[in-house]
Amino acid sequence: MDEKRDDLHSSVHATHPVVGTELTFGSVTDKISAIVLKRKTPIGWFIGFAVSFALFQLMMLAIVKLVFVGIGEWGVNIPIGWGMDILNFVWWIGIGHAGTLISAILLLLRQKWRTSINRFAEAMTLFAVAQAGLYPIMHLGRPWLAYWLFPYPNTMGIWPQFRSPLMWDVFAVSTYATVSALFWFVGLIPDFATLRDRANSKPFRVIYGMLAMGWRGSARHWHRYETAYLLLAGLATPLVLSVHTIVSFDFAVGIIPGWHATIFPPYFVAGAIYAGFAMVLLLTIPLRKIYGLQSFITMRHMNNMAKVMLATGLIVFYGYLIEAFFGWYSGNQYERFMIWNRMHGPYGHYYWALIFCNGLTPQLLWFKKIRANLMWLWLISVVVSIGMWLERFVIVVTSLHRDFLPSSWGMYKPSQWDWAMYIGTIGFFFALLFLFIRFLPMISIFEMRTILPEAEVEE
């Protein structure tokens, strides 16, 4: 036992343990469940929830307007058929990547530090995917016919067109959403049982009881649970790679210069993980402070997440460089113009802001001092999140706005309803997060207990 503890808290990590040494089985359960069951809901929660719920209503308004009046409310036009809709879809989907990566891949790689952040990251993933899922439906000219994209048996005898990347998107995103939701829910079952057992009021006992699905914590339950969880992790792992690969196909399969690039799949996946971790950091840094979870989410987590960001950020930056290089190296006049236009065209400032946000800013993470400074980390996360939005803007809009025939070039500006929808989805995302924090254990109680020193029994 001592050996293992030494291993866990080896000299490298001595300053940043995965879990606070003062914690015990009992205190872990107490501390986490108290947020849901005992502690008084802080006034900040009410304010935060109210604001995000109001923004959620703005989104509903934008959607109602859109459905009744038409997609012309948005800024899209010919030639820029996709604007804020698709770029925000990709942005949200990217954010939704960290959760599964942390939960599944790190689980399979037996990275124990994942435990205290996986629940939260998964919830974030799920909520982000929900936002992302709204966009492909709402961006349709006739959103009420969105179900035509599913291969359902119908009297017309028509299938969707399986050659279209949008069709692949439907499968990729819906599979991802389903598996993420299952993974998240299955992971919650033992903790639902804990909450059921500890709840003071009848309604809570009933609700948590139903959600716990009869969990009693028997050895058989645990055995089956472990198997199911591992299987789901195995299922989810390829999805981390596939979803954004397929999203990138939306562009890479297209013929438009700036879209038609083989580098897109790896570059998109790296970008997604990058964005996802930025968002996890962006959210956990304040949460950890507010709810006093420093002993659960330690500086070790921060350090590791920052390193993942640095690594994926470098891949993304490489992607930008290689895109520019190939634009020039291809010798193709349209590709060359596309790169020139990205840098010096009317949207040039977006490109340079992108290089600053996503290319240069993360270089700060090379420094240990910055990785240890929460303020810096948080600011970098904000910058990266903005940078990822800019990246999608540059890819979607600047490629479309000047393509082959100069006669059809045009400009794009998001309308107020574009912004309403975007801000609304942010509101929706946070509203769901606030509900999650308030009613569900944001850190996995039982998994935390397994990494406590107490859990390390000699066999």
Binding site: N77, L145, L149, S164, P165, V253, I256, F337, M411
Partner: protein, 892 residues
Amino acid sequence: MKAKRGAGLRFLTETITSPSLAAQLKQILTDFPEAKWHQYEPVNRDNARAGALMTFGQDVNTTYDLSKADRILSLGSDFLNGYPGNLRYARDYAAKRRNVAQAVSLRADAAEQMSRLYVIESTPTITGANADHRWSVKPSELSNTVNAVYRRMVADKIPPGEASSVFDRLADDLKHRTGTSLVMVGDDQPPIVHALAHFMNAELGNVGKTVFYTDLIEANSVDQTQSLRELVGDIDVGKVETLIIIGGNPAYSTPVDLRLDFNRLEKVKLRAHLNLYNNETSEICHWHIPMAHYLESWADARTYDGTATIVQPLIAPLYEGKTAYEVLALFSDNYDQKPYDMVRNYWSGQQSALKSQAQSVSTGSGSDRVQNAGGTPANLPKDAGAPANAATDFESSWRKWLHDGFIPNTALPAKTVSLKSDWANSLNQDAGKMPTLPANSYEVIFRPDPSIYDGRFANNGWLQELPKPLTKITWDNVALVSPSTAKKMGCLPPNYEERQHGREALVDTIKLTHRDKSITQQVPVWVLPGQPDDVITIHLGYGRTKAGRVGTQYISDPDSPLPHGGFNAYDIRFSDAPWFSSSGAVVSKTDERFVVASTQTHFTMDGRDILRESSIEEFEHEKNLLAQERQTQEKELHELSLYQDFDYQDQGLGYAWGMSIDLNSCVGCNACMIACQSENNIPIVGKEQVARSREMHWIRIDAYYKGDEYKPEGPFFQPVPCMHCENAPCEPVCPVHATVHSTEGLNDMVYNRCVGTKYCSNNCPYKVRRFNFFLYQDWETPTYQLMRNPDVSVRSRGVMEKCTYCVQRIQSAKIQSEIEGRPVRDGEIVTACQSVCPTEAIVFGNINDPNSKVSKLKALERDYSLLGELNTRPRTTYLQALRNPNPEISKQ
């Protein structure tokens, strides 16, 4: 009124070419000898009339035969677009060039064979854009320039070798083609230019060969400005008691110094106005009489060469409109006579005159060629001369005229006119005149708008949304200036990037003052390459205060939706200078900027191989290279695919539809765009949506300049409909199979299946797809329901649409051919754009048939695919444009 012999009774009409209506008016003037008939139209031929009087001592109608003209000099004549007879001229002009260009392999003497067009003009027109050589000259200098050409032409003593200026070389070139050259002149040019043109044509021996003088086609030609001046004078002294205004909108369109405004008209006791629209004039008249549209009524008219045609109604008047015949009939005893009877009776009375005319010599221009080409027997029935059965004789002639659409042999005969003995004097009087412009002021040109003309079509949404041929502006008029003049004024070129909305262009505005009048609104300044320096061109027809739902000027809210409807150029147009004013307009830049909605923002190709255009000489040099490139490209791209080509021969009836667009013929007149809009129920979307780059035209005309903005060539025009690519990039990306390839190679759009992802449009390299961002169609208004083509689906909100190659016409021809048990004949299917193209630039047909016209065109060495390197393998291909510049001038 009869008692007063019509004293105080005045009629004000537009130009009348209807023989029967003129006869009716003349009858009224006989019945009421004190009454007067005035004519005024803002775009008139007063200058041509004055020029003819100056030259011949009598007014003549001038017609041209471009099919025989090898060297054409146009002096501000926009004969390809805005000119009487432009359809015939454009067709003849293009046919002559095409005959050379469409030889399978260009003959060695192609440059000799092909006609050559020189244009000297002020404001760029599409005729100028199509010219082999174009010079832009200030209006005040134009007559001197023309005079220089003329002097070179008449001076025998100067040996040809000593040609010093381009104009000398031009004169020499024309002179070498005696009898097959042609000098044309625009109606808006000053009389002296008309006179010079007459002299030059006489000198070149063109009269009777390419130029014909005939009697006037107007029933009663007058100096219209003078006619209006007389009317205004009479009104001002209170001599007018009853004013009947037949058509036109004089309260809006009269010159500012002769404006028939409310204060002036108040002196007239009774005013009635017959017009299609309840407009500015109706507002200040006691009576507005709703007019029957010409498609709702019987009438007749004369074409540019005098050929008479009977106008037949297609529908009974929808809103009980009245024709001019019915209104004028009130002044006769037969006040309830019907237009049909009046027209028929008139022609019945003309029959004997017609017969004698049938014997006379034909003009060689116009109608006899129409008849020969039309396939209908041109001769009158054989028994036409028998006097015994005159009634049945007329009946059969009448029926034949109605069937043919025109009355044969009514083209006015060419007449011989001789130059006035003192013509040289008039030349000398005017030629030296060189007005001096006050400092810091600009010459002003007034022109009818290329889309809405003098304002009469302002309430026509199709025309409002039709991009102007050169600027691609919709819904507004602007002040056109040259790049350096704009700089001088402190105005910037249109800024498309600031507001970032689609194709919104922010432009600077000026306050425009001419003499003591100024335009009330700010005038947007548009930089047009090719405009002469220090000259401002403004178009008539905008700034309507009461035109209807579409046309009325809208200026209130400066933000949204966008103000539109332009400014009223008539407010600074004076009767003594209706077209050019060199007395100087004063300009001051304002701080406000104006949003213009244009449909194209980039007019250069940036070195891309999009619109191929070269001189014959260049083409001879590069054609082998081009052919080689094309072959290797086709081969390489073909080998890329794993799949075999689809075998269209093996499908159904073996049709494979394709189109060929001859850029050598296209003059950029926009007719195809309107035809397509009408055929395919394409909605208009309004200025705000156009500014957001959401216009719905299925076919557009791209315009590209070559050279820099200070020394531009072109623009050259390229109609772009759907290419119907064999490897259509739009097809595989649609997730619901809403755009699919037919077995005849059409790229079909299934509206019902479309969910509106817009992915197809994003992936279309030609950007020809159009999306219904809103419900653009008006489903409610009953007249619109009548307007639509019942064979074409009316699209609703949220679906993509695009050119279908007029699939409804293809289907109906196929059904007909199947009924008759034969394949579809070549030329049986005519797409809407093809059917109206005056220059026959668009040819459609079955490319599986090697003998079809389209297959033969695609086999020409000028044929190329737009963006062919993308391996889209478009079914619509283009034929490279050829120019025929004068080597002597090009060298210089």
